[in-house]
Amino acid sequence: MLYVVFYDITDNELRNKVADFLKKKGMRRVQLSVFVGELNSSRLKDVEAGLRLIYRKSKPGDRFMILILPVTDTLFKQRIVIGGEYREEEGNVIW
């Protein structure tokens, strides 16, 4: 299943931690605070656990919200993109 991870985090350090963590787990950035990736159930648990650990470090009063949304391939293909998708790396071949 594909999962979309959205986050809204005020603390810069924690926000970077979350982004690095998601990247490490093989998710791809589609917007500055949105990642998409294919996860099986064990890898989903792993991602969830990792994000909860980072959440524990947040201070009370700070905004720290993460939404993990499952979406089917078919539905994802029907996405509407306006103004182009954010891409860190072009193409699937790295030379």
Binding site: K23, K24, K25, R28, V36, E89, N92, V93, W95
Partner: protein, 299 residues
């Protein structure tokens, strides 16, 4: 967008290692790339470099293919220790080699000739020229009644003559392509590009043959020789023209100078692996269930 990535290690002295869970390629303290193992499908090593055993470990966990090239040829591939093929299939393969060698050889070449015909025919129609594609069509029919492997190979050789003289007419003169040369003799850029393409194709077919559990060393058309992956060479025949030649002819005609750029050639030679896997599965099924084998027919 979510397809996995193929990474090339092409810098001399590169060091591929694991750093904070990411597979990272470093050249002289400069990080060339750093990717999560979950998003890599293959690591292709083209130059002298070092690879850490931790990378091998992670690659094994995530099913990443690691292939080493030397001079456009894949020379080694990492196969997990848990891989043992299917012994039943190997035995069947030996049995098929004894009883149905010529049937398989014939189908491989039938597919090859057909696909070569498709390539030439495309350009004949497009530009309303004659490249003698009808000769290939004729050979395609003739090969079906051959009942020796030698006879089949003779048809293949005859087809190659017509095919390459047709391709020669399609390649811009400035590339100096006089005809297909064997590995080692190829000096002109189009021949070199073909060798790179066939090297990449061999890598893909090799992976497919192994993953369906066939023994890569026992072929039907190509004779067995120690260390030669004859079955891989057999299965490659039907894909050469549609997967490699067609793309390269296209590049040569559109932008001849690109043929000299090995980056362009390598990165264009990444194939629809699904087709190759399907074909390997068909071959395994034909061997296992004593069925007829149907080659890949290009459109």
């Amino acid at each position: 967008m979510l397809d996995k990535k193929i990474v090339f290690v092409k810098d001399w002295g590169a060091y591929v290692r694991v750093s904070k869970g990411m597979i990272t390629c470093v050249v002289k303290d400069e990080v060339k790339w750093s990717l999560s193992p979950a998003e890599i499908s293959s690591i292709i090593i083209l130059a002298n470099s070092s690879i850490s055993s931790e990378v091998i470990n992670l690659a094994n966990q995530y099913g990443i293919e690691i292939v080493f090239f030397k001079g456009n040829e894949p020379i080694a591939k990492i196969i997990p220790a848990s891989y043992a093929g299917s012994f039943k299939l190997w035995l069947r393969q030996i049995r098929a080699w004894k009883s149905r060698r010529v049937n398989f050889a014939r189908e491989f070449i039938y597919g090859k000739l057909h696909n070569q015909w498709v390539t030439l025919r495309y350009y004949e129609k497009k530009y309303n020229i004659n490249l003698n594609s009808d000769k290939l069509l004729q050979l395609e029919r003739e090969v079906l009644v051959e009942n020796t492997v030698e006879g089949v190979m003779q048809k293949e050789a005859e087809g190659a003559k017509w095919y390459w003289s047709g391709v020669r007419q399609l390649i811009p003169k400035e590339l100096g392509f006089k005809g297909r040369k064997k590995r080692g003799e190829a000096k002109d850029p189009f021949n070199v590009a073909l060798n790179i393409g066939y090297g990449m194709l061999r890598k893909s077919v090799w992976g497919a043959v192994i993953s369906v559990g066939l023994n890569p060393y026992l072929g039907f058309l190509h004779k067995y020789r120690a260390g030669r992956p004859s079955l891989v060479l057999d299965l490659m025949e039907e894909f050469r023209s549609p997967f490699v030649d067609r793309k390269l002819i296209g590049i040569a005609r559109q932008k001849p100078e690109d043929v000299k750029d090995i980056k362009v050639i390598y990165t264009n030679m990444v194939f629809e692996e699904e087709e190759i896997y399907t074909q390997a599965r068909r071959l395994a099924n034909a061997i296992l269930h004593d069925e007829e084998y149907k080659p890949y027919m290009a459109k």
